[in-house]
């Protein structure tokens, strides 16, 4: 049985549906990437699963953690899972930390809540956690305030706080987006190391495909509140089948390619209030047919592994064709 099992998760805000039935399993210890542009539902999926959406959000479907249902469960029960079993870190660490409280106290609060540690034991564990996430001279800096740390260090402190409850799953929501390049590299490295050391599973939400491929075992691509393709990292990156996945890859310039025009995806992400009738990607898709306009493809398991929701997927051999043309 998967550690977390999400089935048909739907979310609506003010009657506008933004998440249209997500199915996702996370096994113990694995790292799964969630990829897509802003507004596609990557973060909403997990905020909904953990009961972190505002009251006006209407959530339906099922989220089970080791068989225990979270959707519709009493708040106290969801709170016991959140932080202790599943922890979440966000893009902007400075706004997630309390600016007027010493960082050590904020971490100790987590330790008291989830592990019942207090006093000297909590303090020792706080220092150990700060040390583990790479805060230099942790023992002397535990009583500093968030503004006395840099952005990268604040993200490390957030990670330490997330680890305080010894979670089985860490949801990292764009954890490196707000950081400088060399610090991004440090945080990616840290997350990979922590995962190896603690054996916790990780969901890595990012629009940075390179970062996702570097730290995840498999990934799911989301578009307009639905999953459109999912599979192992290697297959997904070597032979993307959904035109949107392929479009995302093609839109990103390569560091080792020269100057040249980029290949953007034309058009914009649809307004959730005015989704197209058929496939949501249809208006921007270069391969769409009449069927794509009127019918919506379901996410189906594929014989070669992975899942796909597309009537006109790119063939396994598209890259081979391109290669053959080059050679000819």
């Amino acid at each position: 049985m998967a550690f977390v099992s999400i089935r048909d998760l739907k979310v609506a805000f003010d009657g506008v549906q933004v998440l249209h039935g997500i199915d996702l399993d996370i096994d113990r210890g694995e790292a799964v990437g969630l990829v897509g542009e802003s507004g596609c539902g990557k973060s909403v999926t997990w905020l909904a699963a953990l009961g972190l959406l505002p009251g006006k959000a209407r959530v339906s479907g099922s989220v089970r953690v080791e068989g225990q249902e979270l959707i519709g469960a009493p708040a106290r029960m969801v709170e016991r899972v959140r932080g202790a079993r599943i922890a979440m870190i966000f893009q902007d660490p400075s706004s997630s930390l309390n600016p007027v409280q010493r960082v050590g106290r904020q971490i100790a609060e987590s330790l008291a809540l989830h592990r019942g540690l207090r006093g000297a034991a909590a303090r020792a564990e706080t220092v150990r956690l700060l040390d583990m996430v790479g805060i230099p001279s942790a023992a002397t800096r535990v009583d500093l305030y968030p503004h006395e740390f840099s952005g990268g260090q604040c993200q490390r402190i957030m990670i330490a706080m997330a680890l305080a409850g010894q979670p089985d799953l860490l949801i990292a929501d764009e954890p490196t987006t707000a950081l400088d390049a060399t610090i991004q590299a440090q945080i990616l490295d840290l997350l990979a190391r922590l995962r190896a050391e603690t054996g916790m599973a990780m969901v890595f939400i990012s629009h940075d495909l390179g970062a996702v491929s570097a730290v995840c075992d498999r990934a799911a691509v989301m578009y307009a509140g639905r999953m459109v393709e999912a599979g192992g990292i290697e297959r997904l990156f070597a032979a993307p089948r959904h035109p949107y996945t392929r479009g995302l890859f093609d839109a990103i310039p390569e560091l080792d390619a020269g100057r040249g025009r980029l290949n953007p995806i034309q058009g914009v992400v649809p307004d959730p209030k005015k989704l197209p009738m058929g496939c949501a990607f249809f208006p921007r898709c270069t391969r769409a047919s009449e069927l794509c306009r009127i019918e919506r493809p379901d996410l189906k398991p594929q014989p070669q592994g992975g899942h796909l929701a597309c009537f006109r997927p790119l063939g396994e051999d598209t890259r081979t064709w391109a290669r053959a043309e080059e050679l000819a």
Binding site: G151, A181, T182, Q186, H207, I233, P253, N263, Q266
Partner: protein, 326 residues
């Protein structure tokens, strides 16, 4: 060689930080002696992390800030003091595009009014001619005619950035500073705006300084790249060279830090330590506390930007190699 459109000589900018009634503030050198020149039609990339002084440099190049020392030459003539009449005339010929289009636009003005504003201010066009020029500008940046009467919040992020670009181009500038112009946009939209900037640059022969922390975008659009660290240029080279053969240890780490699809974390250079803090500049080479090659000399001597083995770098460690090679 053609004379540069814009040239910086020994540019320095200082800010005072943490000043209060009782104690004097600390002087922070945001930009600490920069020389550079951009030739007509050239796109110069400026990369570096936050606090490296790249945005301050951009503002000084446009004359939006007066340097504490050094000077900026535009078309060979010294930049007039900010807010003089002469400066205002010059401003029509140089424009800034920056990261957040919503902050750059007036929420209560329609798109067409905002694009036409510089034309009215600089008395370039009015009446039906103004209307025509605005329509032409909108078409050039890929905005639909029916969007003319919309307000900024009714457009998507990518469309807003197109409005900002159209407004920047209204006065027919010769020189453009783009400060993180696509950083706030989604990847599929980013590519649309980068292509637009490229096309406009090629068609108009615009001279551009493109400031960004996104090395992949810089690689794609820039002819030449200057890498900044704590207010100084540490390496400068054509973009083909700097990304395939970075020489300065900081450039090497920066290039290596970009995650590549299908390549794990192995083999990347992970720099130790924190990003540079301009308020606590280390002695000697500012990069030496994080540098894997640094030795005692690096902590004493500030390396100058010099040509070693055909490359401009500011690194003492490049020097002995140059001598052995010679």
């Amino acid at each position: 060689m053609t004379p540069p459109v814009i040239e910086a000589r020994g540019l320095v900018q200082k800010y005072e930080s943490g000043r209060s009634l009782l104690k004097p503030g600390r002087v922070v050198r945001a930009v600490d002696g920069i020389d550079l020149a951009v030739r007509p039609g050239e796109v110069l990339g400026v990369v570096g992390e936050s606090g490296s002084g790249k945005s301050t440099l951009g503002r000084m190049l446009l004359g939006l800030e007066s340097p504490a020392a050094g000077k900026v030459l535009f078309d060979g003539a010294a930049m007039p003091a900010p807010r003089t009449d002469e400066w205002r005339r010059l401003r029509a010929r140089m424009q800034l595009i920056y990261q957040d289009p919503l902050a750059a636009l007036d929420r209560r003005m329609t798109i067409a009014d905002q694009i036409g504003e510089p034309l009215r201010i600089h008395r370039i066009a009015e009446g039906p001619e103004l209307h025509e020029r605005v329509a032409a500008l909108m078409a050039r940046v890929g905005l639909r005619p029916d969007q003319a009467d919309r307000y900024p919040h009714e457009l998507s992020g990518g469309q807003r950035q197109r409005v900002v670009i159209a407004r920047a181009l209204a006065t027919g500038p010769k020189f453009l500073v783009c400060d993180e112009p696509v950083s706030a946009l989604d990847v599929s939209i980013q590519a649309q705006v980068v292509n637009l900037l490229r096309d406009l640059q090629e068609q108009e022969g615009l001279t551009m300084v493109f400031i960004s922390h996104d090395l992949k975008v810089v690689r794609n659009i820039c002819d030449r790249v200057a890498v900044m660290y704590l207010g100084r240029v540490v390496e400068e080279a054509p973009s083909d060279q700097i990304f395939t053969d970075p020489r300065h240890p900081y450039t090497r780490a920066l290039v290596s830090s970009v995650p590549k699809a299908g390549q794990g974390l192995a083999g990347r250079i992970i720099l130790q330590g924190e990003p540079p803090n301009p308020a606590a500049r280390p002695d000697g080479c500012a990069f030496h506390p994080r540098c894997p090659l640094a030795d005692a000399a690096c902590a004493r001597e500030v390396p100058a930007l010099e040509r070693h083995r055909g490359r401009l770098t500011a690194c003492l460690k490049q020097r002995p190699v140059a001598q052995t090679a010679a």
